[in-house]
Amino acid sequence: MNRNELQEVVTPAQSILVSTRPGEQSAGAPGSSGLSIDIVVNRQRRQLDVDPRASLLDLVRDHLHLMGTKKGCDHGQCGACTVHLDGRRVVSCLMLALQADGREVTTIEGLAGPNGSLHVMQQAFIDHDALQCGYCTPGQIMSAVACVREGHANSVAGIREYMSGNLCRCGAYVGIVAAIQDAAPRMQGAEP
């Protein structure tokens, strides 16, 4: 399915969405007070009730059970939770799930081909040992794919600057830069 088809599937929220239940103190599980959103995740349209406080990250992990996207800091600082929103990389921990209503999300699970074949960038991370514990890796890969698509992966300096929002506590940076350098030209050939 291409982007244009998706635009038709998704109805942008035309009406004002209002919850009138402020002031609850309980930190209930996501979904408890139920504001409804309509969202496309990894090419699948979903209608969900979410707690207004839930982040897009909570939605992806706790509601949709897509565990690839990781929670590192929960404050926008580490990049472990990076996903694509309408094709742009964002930190899903700093976005209200409500703000993703009517939009298209791609997580690490949505990167592989329909037959399960790894994305060029995923294979490059394996080939270049671009990970140790792997916790930061889904975020690194989502960021790396965006970095190439943005046109920021044409030099080592560009890669380092535009990957700086993804921290790796294991220090696999050298391998990460090598993987992106390797994958970038092949991605540019393989993608529209």
Binding site: A13, Q14, I16, L17, V18, S19, T20, R21, P22, G23, E24, Q25, S26, A27, S33, L35, D51, P52, R53, S55, D74, H75, G76, G79, T82, L85, R88, R89, V90, V91, L94, M95, L96, L98, Q99, D101, S143, A146, C147, E150, H152, R160, E161, Y162, S164, G165, N166
Partner: protein, 334 residues
């Protein structure tokens, strides 16, 4: 986190209405990268959010005007940073955006919300047991006499030494930008220089905006000094950090003679800080390494330092001097 009511207006008119209905307990949320972050820390606890991130009419910007540049408040940092005209004609503005935060945050954060980001002071963000007059008025300031390495040396008070952390507002201050706002009481225009307050006795009051007042656009008067400009940002690491010291500088030179100098500072002050004494000192003279250095030092004559941030006087002066020479180089090539 406390739960909240949520409204997502799709037009500015509907947003003003939503703010009028929910006031005084509603907060505006745009990209959410400051507000939602602080809600998670229980530092902000709004009863209602008015989500303005989809006000389509405010997401556009225009850098081709002959009188002013216009930025819709909901335009994303990354989109403006990528604008070619801005990169060549106003490098200081473009640099202040792409040297800030991370690529992901820049895709989310709006240039309106950016102006109102709150301090990164660890005592403010950290909460109990540390007192903080910004977080809890009257409780005291743990940074004064505490770990104050990243704190302000200009515009401080005995109540607060927290740094204004943003970059974009500093660059806008150098160019005398103006903000257009709308609220249930009508519209007004605010010079960027008047937006932020020094802490004084009331550090919790950071700007002159009313809670129900929406910034709709930012306007920058066109100036040839834009081409000979830079945002020079000095950080603890090469990328992805807040400024320890920064200088937005723009110049108009005639041969070697300075006809116009604009200097604003970040990372060292409690608000975006215009260094007018330093600007005046440069006017009409030749810009050399020596005069640049002297202007840099002049900007910090009123500095009040704490235990661990004395280095910012020297660092700040050098940052200004370097920025002036970078801007001068751009004046030659343009």
């Amino acid at each position: 986190m406390r739960s909240f009511a949520y409204a997502r207006p799709l037009t500015v008119m509907a947003a003003v209405q939503a703010l009028a209905d929910a006031s005084p307990h509603a907060r505006i949320i745009a990209g959410g990268t400051t507000l939602y972050d602080l809600m998670k820390l229980n530092i902000e606890a709004p009863q209602a959010l008015v989500d303005v991130s989809r006000l389509g009419e405010l997401t556009t910007f225009d850098t081709s005007g002959t009188r002013e540049l216009v930025f819709g408040a909901m335009a994303r940092m990354s989109d403006i940073a990528a604008d070619r005209t801005l990169q060549t004609d106003y490098p200081a503005l473009a640099e202040s955006l792409w040297l800030a935060a991370s690529p992901q945050v820049r895709n989310m954060a709006t240039v309106g919300g950016n102006l109102l980001q709150r301090t990164r002071c660890a005592y403010f963000r950290g909460g109990a047991p540390y007192p903080c007059n910004k977080r809890q008025p009257g409780s005291g300031c743990a940074a004064i006499g505490g770990l104050d390495r990243s704190h302000a040396i200009l515009g401080t008070s005995t109540s607060c030494v927290a740094v204004y952390p943003g970059d974009w507002a500093v660059a806008l201050a150098a160019f005398d930008a103006q903000l257009d706002t709308v609220s249930p009481r009508g519209e007004r225009t605010i010079p960027i220089d008047e937006l932020h307050r020094e802490p004084g006795e009331t550090p919790h009051l950071e700007t002159i905006l009313k809670p129900d007042e929406l910034i709709v656009r930012i306007r920058v008067p066109v100036t040839v000094a834009g081409r000979a400009s830079t945002y020079h940002k000095i950080r603890d690491r090469a990328s992805y950090a807040f400024a320890l010291a920064s200088a937005a500088v723009a110049l108009r030179v005639d041969g070697d003679t300075v006809r116009e100098a604009r200097i604003a500072l970040g990372g060292v002050a409690t608000r975006p800080w215009r260094a007018r004494d330093a600007e005046r000192a440069l006017m009409g003279g030749a810009l050399t390494e020596g005069s640049a250095r002297a202007a840099g030092e002049l900007a910090f004559t009123a500095a009040r330092t704490g235990q661990y941030n004395r280095f910012k006087v020297e660092l700040g002066a050098r940052t200004i001097a370097e920025a002036l020479m970078i801007a001068k180089g751009r004046a030659k090539t343009s």
